[in-house]
Each structure stands twice: as structure tokens, then as C-alpha cells.
């Protein structure tokens, strides 16, 4: 990862981490406050519902007491005592109920048999133990009971708040039990008062409900006796909505902070790393040889010191490199001079010996002086020729001209060079795999010399018998020419020096042929390498940049040029 990226990330983290630490706590605090508020509202709703239930019970008790003291009840008791049960008194309880806001009213005898019922006339003559049970705790006010109510669809049980009072008419005792059913009307009334969803249930399940709230709910309940329960529910949806809005806002804040921190961090990191990048870029260029490059010293602090130190290093490197180059140049010339001196000295020794022999023979008036003079003259001439060749090769190596580049059909050139060796000498096979129309931009003469050197070198490596293969191909925009021999190969330690001037492994070799060939290849922007194993021959590979095949007219011009003697 780049320094700039790391710096940008670090800035972003610095911005995000505090938020990430603070925001959850803040959300938690807000959530707690909202929950407490909701709990408080729920408690308030419960209080209101409790008050409503108690008020309903008090109303029921008042109504029952009023009925118990009414003239209508006395008339009922009188008729009952005089005439006994009759269907004519079936509707008495119903008439007593109306106008007193009661939805349950039954008149019982002392044994609990129903004398008249306003909410369930069909119960007359039967006991109603559930409702009559309210008479057991008559002094306690309204009590929760379960009463049967009849509708066209059937009989259903509902919870109710009822009160009971007794009425005596002589020996006739009548119980008045009345109250209010906790049905959907009651639930709706509670809903209107509290705003909470109201669910009234008994032991068999829900009997009435009112109000709708969005889920999820939070609930409190009033238990009216063991069988009746009024659940009051408020919606947590607003709290959740507020929390959601808050979380989203914080997430947006974090995201914005993160983005801003990333951008600012990137910009600041870029500001910091720009001189470092410049140093790295300069180092790359310097490694490529541009020693005179200087990095602008516009920064301060450690980075500025780095830049200044780099520039100083660069200057010293340049100086050192120049010194090294000069030293190497001197060393190279020294080596060349040493080798040249060694090469020159070799023929001078036999020349000197021959002349000394002639002088000695002359002084001794040797009878074979003439013959001796001829032999010595021949030897001297041979060595002089050798000297001349050495000087020519050295001159050629030293004064290798700049190549005159032109499009050359390397395929045809290779064939022409090979034709000079046709037929090959006895014991030598020459094979070729020349790809057609491989063009290069080169100096034709230098390239010819290079090929001749390689083939001559391969022939000399065979030492009598063997095979030479010349292969040419166009590979990925490069012309690749291989000259392989089946000679004894080149030792590994010699392979590194084989392209040095005057290095040779052959008797009588000048040691300049491969050096010249490599120099030619380098002057053409290519390379010349060797691969060999002792006993397995050697492969010299010339690589040159391939050129596009010219147009047909140019091609024919090149052919005409080649055809000229």
C-alpha cells in the first residue's frame, strides 16, 4: 500500500473512531430517554384506565342501589308475592335497566333463581351462579364477573363489573345484581380516554378490543379478578422511528465525516508525499543514468532534509560515477593496451630471434647463411603479416563506424552469408531455418560482418567435424537469429568474458571477432548472447528490433540493390 493511501486511511480513521465511540453511547442515551417517556405514558394510561374501571363500578353500584330502593321493584315484589312467577314480569328487569346505563341486570330470589333478567330474559327460572356470586361480596362494591349474553348468533360469555344489593319484602327476599358489560363499547370508551389500544380478555380469550396501533406494542394490564384482564397497549413505533431517524442521522454524519476525512487526508497525504514521490521518481531516473537530475527543495522539515540529502547523494553519485567511468575507461584502455602489447610482442620475439640468428650466422660466416637467411626472412615476413593483421583488427575494433541504418531483409542476408559457405568443407554440415521476410533496420555491411563472425566462430569451434545450424525467426517484434554449433562448447567461466576484446579460447585467434559482433549488435539497439554447456556446443543468439516489411517498390529496390555485384 502506498504511503499516500496509508496516510489518507489514517486520517479517515482518526475522524471515524471518535464518532464510532461516541455515537452508540449517544444513541443509547436517547433510546433510554424515549423508553422512559413511553413507560411514563403507559403508566399514565394505566392510571386513567383504573380510574375509568373504578368509576364504572361506582356507577353500577349507584344504579343497583337506586333500583333496590325503587317503587318499581317494590311493585314487582308485591306482585310476585301475590301471584307467583309469571311471564308478565319477564320484562321488569329490562325496564329497570333502561335509562340507568346498565347492560346487566338480574333479579334473583334468595336461592339464586332468576326472577327476571334484563340482559338474558331466557334465564328466568334458572340459577345464574356466576352472576349470583356477586351477592357474596355485596359490601365490596362492584366486582368482576363473567356473564352470559345472548345474541342472534348464540350465547357468549363476557366480563362485567356488577354490584349487588338485597331488597326485602316481608319474607320475600330479592337480590338485585346489575352492572356493566366490559364489551367493545367499554373498550372503545377506554380507547377514547387513553389513546391506547384496549384488549379485554377472559379465560377463554379476547372478548373485545378497540383502537389500532402500529406494531410493536408495549403493554400494561389491569387484572380484574382471576378471570378478567384489560390489556392497554401503546405503540413503540414512534420511539423506534425516532431511534431509526437518529441512527440514520449519525450514520450519515459518520459517512460524511469519513468521506471528508478521506478527502482531506488524501489531499494532506498528497501534500506530504509529493516530495517523496519526486525523490522516488528521481531515484528511478538516476538509476537509469540521469545523474544530473535535481529534486526541487520546496519542502521543509524532515521531508525537506530528505530531499536535500537526496540531492547531495545524487551529486556525489554523479561525481563518483564519472570517476568510475573514467577509471573504467582508463582501465579498459590499459587492458586493451596490455593485450595489444601482448599480441604485438608475440610476433616481435621470433622476429628478433631470427635477426639475431642471422647476425650470429653472419659473424660466424656460416656456409648455410644463405639458407638460413631465407628461412629467417620468411619467418620475419610471416610475423610482420601477423602484426599487420593485429593492427588492422584493432583499428577496426577501435574505429567501428556509426551504423548507417536502412531496411534490410535479414532473411535474404542470412541466406547470402550462408551461400558463402556452400558447399561447406568436409565433415561440416550447415543447416538453416530461415523465416522469410524478417526485416530489420540496420547497416547492411556491419550486419554482414557480424553474421560472418558468428559463422566463422562456429566453424572454428567444430575443430573438424560437426554441424552448424542457423535459425532466424520473427518473435514478438524482434528478429531472433541463432547460430548453433555442435562443438565442444564453452566453459562457464569463459562465457562471461567471451565478448571481451582480445579474449579467445582458440589458438591464433585475435579475440576481437565476438567483441566486434557484440558492439555491432549494441549499436543496432539489440543484443548478442551465448548459451553453452561444455561438450554440448554453443548457441549464439542475436536479437534485433524487427522492422515493418516495406512497400513492394521499396522491397524491389532492396532486391535490385542486393542483386548488384
Amino acid at each position: 500500500m502506498r504511503l499516500r493511501t496509508r496516510l489518507a486511511l489514517a486520517f479517515a480513521l482518526l475522524a471515524v473512531v471518535p464518532l464510532a465511540l461516541v455515537v452508540p453511547r449517544a444513541i443509547g442515551e436517547v433510546r433510554g430517554i424515549l423508553s422512559k417517556d413511553l413507560e411514563s405514558r403507559l403508566q399514565s394510561v394505566r392510571t386513567v384506565a383504573e380510574t375509568a374501571v373504578q368509576e364504572t363500578g361506582r356507577d353500577a353500584l349507584r344504579a343497583v342501589e337506586e333500583i333496590a330502593g325503587s317503587v318499581a321493584l317494590e311493585d314487582f315484589a308485591r306482585e310476585l308475592r301475590a301471584q307467583g312467577p309469571s311471564n308478565q314480569r319477564l320484562a321488569v328487569a329490562k325496564r329497570l335497566m333502561d335509562g340507568r346505563n346498565l347492560s346487566v341486570l338480574s333479579l334473583f330470589d334468595a336461592e339464586g333463581k332468576t326472577l327476571s333478567s334484563g340482559h338474558l330474559p331466557a334465564r328466568v327460572g334458572d340459577p345464574d351462579p356466576a352472576l349470583f356470586a356477586a351477592t357474596q361480596n355485596a359490601t365490596q362494591g362492584a366486582l368482576p364477573v363473567l356473564v352470559d349474553l345472548r345474541g342472534e348468533a348464540g350465547v357468549h360469555r363476557y366480563p362485567a363489573l356488577v354490584a349487588a344489593r338485597s331488597f326485602e319484602y316481608g319474607e320475600l327476599g330479592i337480590w338485585v345484581v346489575g352492572g356493566r358489560v366490559l364489551d367493545s363499547n367499554f373498550a372503545d370508551q377506554l380507547f377514547q380516554m387513553t389513546g391506547a389500544r384496549v384488549e379485554i380478555s377472559d379465560e377463554d380469550g379476547q372478548v373485545a378490543a378497540a383502537g389500532e396501533i402500529a406494531p410493536p406494542p408495549v403493554e400494561t394490564a389491569l387484572a380484574l379478578g382471576p378471570a378478567v384482564r384489560i390489556a392497554l397497549k401503546l405503540s413503540r413505533a414512534p420511539v423506534i422511528h425516532t431511534e431509526t431517524v437518529l441512527v440514520r442521522a449519525f450514520i450519515a454524519l459518520i459517512a460524511f465525516g469519513l468521506a471528508l476525512a478521506a478527502v482531506l487526508g488524501f489531499l494532506f497525504a498528497r501534500f506530504i508525499t509529493r516530495p517523496i514521490d519526486a525523490v522516488a521518481e528521481a531515484a528511478t531516473k538516476i538509476a537509469a543514468g540521469a545523474f544530473d537530475l535535481k529534486v526541487p527543495e520546496s519542502s521543509s522539515g524532515e521531508v525537506g532534509e530528505l530531499v536535500r540529502a537526496f540531492n547531495r547523494m545524487t551529486a556525489e553519485l554523479q561525481s563518483t560515477t564519472q570517476q568510475l567511468i573514467a577509471s573504467e575507461r582508463v582501465a579498459a584502455w590499459q587492458e586493451v593496451a596490455r593485450r595489444l602489447a601482448h599480441e604485438i610482442k608475440n610476433p616481435l620475439t621470433p622476429i628478433k630471434m631470427s635477426l639475431e640468428t642471422l647476425l650470429a650466422a653472419s659473424e660466424r660466416r656460416e656456409p648455410s647463411f644463405d639458407q638460413l637467411f631465407k628461412d629467417s626472412a620468411a619467418a620475419v615476413l610471416e610475423e610482420v603479416e601477423r602484426l599487420r593483421r593485429i593492427v588492422d583488427e584493432f583499428s577496426q575494433f577501435a574505429r567501428l563506424p556509426k551504423p548507417q541504418l536502412a531496411l534490410v531483409n535479414l532473411s535474404e542476408l542470412s541466406q547470402q552469408v550462408l551461400s558463402l559457405y556452400a558447399p561447406p568443407r568436409e565433415g561440416v554440415e550447415i543447416g538453416s531455418q530461415i523465416a522469410p521476410r524478417v526485416w530489420v533496420s540496420a547497416d547492411r555491411d556491419q550486419l554482414t560482418q557480424l553474421l560472418l563472425n558468428l559463422i566463422k566462430n562456429a566453424e572454428e569451434a567444430l575443430e573438424g567435424n560437426g554441424r552448424i545450424d542457423v535459425r532466424l525467426k520473427n518473435a514478438a517484434g524482434q528478429a531472433v537469429l541463432e547460430v548453433a554449433d555442435s562443438g565442444k562448447g564453452i566453459a562457464l567461466e569463459d562465457q562471461a568474458r567471451i565478448f571481451e576484446p582480445y579474449f579467445t579460447t582458440k589458438q591464433g585467434g585475435s579475440g576481437l571477432g565476438l567483441a566486434i559482433a557484440r558492439r555491432i549488435s549494441q549499436e543496432h539497439g539489440g543484443s548478442l548472447e551465448v548459451a553453452s554447456s561444455p561438450g554440448a556446443g554453443a548457441v549464439f543468439t542475436l536479437i534485433l528490433p524487427a522492422a515493418a516489411e516495406p512497400a513492394a517498390s521499396n522491397h524491389r529496390a532492396d532486391d535490385r540493390e542486393q542483386a548488384m555485384p
Binding site: 311471564n87 352470559d148 348468533a153 348464540g154
Partner: protein, 465 residues
Amino acid sequence: MNRAMLAVIAASSALPCDDSLAASRARYGGNLRLAIAARPADANPSLADAPWDAALLSLTAKPICTLDDGRRIHPVLASEISWQGAIKLQIALRPGLRFHDDAALNAKEILASWSRLSQPSSKSPYRALLFAARPEALRVASAGASQQLLEVPLTFAWPDLAASLCHPALAIKAAAESRAGIGPFKPSSNAGELEANLGFPLGRPFVDRLSVAFTDERGAARRLALRQAQVVFGTAGQRPSADSPPALYATYLAFRAERVGADFRQAFDASIDRGDLTRFFVPAPSVAMNALLPPALMPQPAIQRPPVPAPGVRRALTLTFDQSLPEQRLVAERIQVKLHDLKYAIALRPVPRAQLRAAWASGDFDLMLHAVLLPPFAAPALAVAIELAGARELLSAELPAIGALVDAGERERAALERARALLPSLSLIPLYSQAIGIQASSEVISLGQDGYGLPALDDAILLPQ
């Protein structure tokens, strides 16, 4: 009672007084105000079987005969009803009878009125009254200016056919659009009024006019107390007694056995006390009915409440009843509440009477409260009960054997014995029977009843004040 005798009695009641009372002797005339504690009756005779409905209808449309309180046949539209052998009934129609719309009465009208009831599409249990007859084979034996003689062939001997023809459901109505009848009164031009039919074959009624008002029970009692009505039908004024009219208006609970389950009868008998029904929910005069026929026709067996069966799977049923009868609603609610504890979830369905009969005829019901005005004879009453139970196929098996008994007493005993034997197998639970509750002010005398317990308002005399 003969109107002449009544007139004499009424007149005699004034004799011990001095001459100043001579003007108060019974005489024709007056406007008798009648209050009925019920809804207006349906004009269809076969549906007008609630006692006050039948009583009101019989004022303007009579069958060919009536039964007196001694169950004796009195020809009304017929002059004579006689048997020509065991399986042919001969009816001599009175000549010159005309309906209230002035159409002439002839055998065709008789046939049409009876055919409406006897045909298979008739939605009435009263068609059992004509089971033995073949109205389609009714023929006019002779038709002269003075007399039309009708012959009614029977498929088997059924001596009680003549008495059955006196049932109010067999009132003769004109085939015309008017559906007018022939009765002691006829519709007046004033709404809610009937005027005396001076051409009634048995003689005109004593009162000139009858004003009819429909109200509820309390309203009827109020009218009576305030002298706004002289006669009130349908008030629970008295308990049944020896002098009470016979309670022949029988209410049953019909059920579809395949819908209610095998133990329904046991559950019902275990949880419903018929005495409570008549005590608390059905206005007097009413009596509990445990046997197939009401107490007025047969002794009731001792009530043996079976044990309450264990509540089974909850069964949802619908109880259909006549919405025009308040006591049926109370009884239906009672049944609903009492059976609720035995896992029967019963929904109530009040419908008009015509719809009730249609549902009964099609068998489209679970439970149904069904009330019929039974004839005061056991054999035809048995036939109606069997028809009501939806077991018409039993009529051809049961009635011929009973009809073959010439002696009336033997027929009664045979019919009662079959009634006892058939009850457990019929999809019918007897509940109670009612008579029409009647109260009259002191201005009204000679208010008797017929063999069905219906008041004979045409015999009523309105004393001058």
C-alpha cells in the same frame, strides 16, 4: 249456540228489571271494538293459524262447516254433509251464496280452495286433513237452481273427514283476485272495520260493526281498561281451567335428525322444562305438552327428565321461528340459552310465517319452532302432527287402519295409541299448547267459542250502556 236462543237469554236478562230497562234488552246493532295483541294476520287461510289470526279470518271467510264447543258439525256454506258409504262424502251446498265480492259460490270454488291445500306443492301441514280425500275427483253430482250436490271420493275410509273440513285453514275463498270469502262479517269501506254480512246463511251477527285494532299486550290491556275496546284477544288474562277454551294451538320443535345428532332429543328433554316455558315465556292460557297431541286431546305422560348427556363436540345449529309471534322468540331464546351449556351453539333466525312454511316444506332448516291449530279430534290431529314431522309416508300406513274403525271412541283411542307409539321416532318435540286468551268487558255477553277454541264473535251481543 243458536242466535235465537241467545237473543231470548239476553232479553230475559233484562226482564226482572222495571220498564225503564226495556230499552236495554238485547238487540241487534252496535259497534264492537276489538283489540288484538298481535300483528295483523296473513290473508292466506293456511297461514292464519295463530288463534287470533284464525279467529279474525273466520269472521269473513268460513269453511263449509264449523264445529261447536261440543265438537258437533254445523254446516255453514253447506246445507247438509252426509256419507254415501264409507268412502264417499256428499255435500249439499246452500244455493245463492255469494262471496263478499259478489261472485257466486259453486263447486269450482270449493275445489280450488281445497286443492290449494292438498296439492303436493302446498307448504302447509294442514294438507294432511285432506289426505284421505281426492279433491281432484270431486264432482258435482247434481247442479240445480236450488241445490248443488258435491261428491268427495276417498281413497280409504276416514270418518273424521267431515270434521276436518271445518278447520279454519280450509276456509273457502273465491278463486278471483279478490280472494273474498263468505262470513258473518265482510270488509267495510273503512280501514280496520268489518260490517255485518246481512246475507250470511246462518243469519246476520248481532253487532253491526266490528272495529279491529292491532296492538301489543300492554296496549290491549290498556284499551280494555279505558273502555277503548270491549273484547281483547291475546292477553294473558287467565290460567287454564275447565271453562277455558281448549288449547289446541300446539307448538312443536321440528328438527332434522341428521343435522342435530342422535342425542339431541335427550339433551333437549334433559335441559328444557316445558313447565318453565308456559310459566315464564308463553302467555296464558298455555299448557305444557309432552305428548304428540296436546292435553286437550290426550293425557300427558309423566315427565321423566332424562340425564343430561355429556357435552359432545360443539354443534352449530340454526333455530328458525315465526317472527310475528313474540312468545316464539322468547321460547327460542330459552332453547338457545339452555342448550348452550350442552355445546349446542344455536343461532336464531326469525322469518315471516310464509318463509317459515317454505323452509319447512323444503326441509331447509336445522331446528324450527312450528305452531299449528289442531282439530279437536285425535285422528286428524295425529295426521297433522305426522305431516308436521315431515313423515308424510307414515300417513298412508297409519290412517287407513284408524279410519277403518267405525266407532268414534275407538278411533280416538287408536289415534292416541299411535300418537304415543310414534312420538319417539318422529323428528318432532312437543313443547306447549295454547288457547286464545280472551278478555271482554261487561258490555259484551254471549261471547262463546267454537270447537277450536276460537271466539264466536258473530254470536256476541253488545249491551247498551
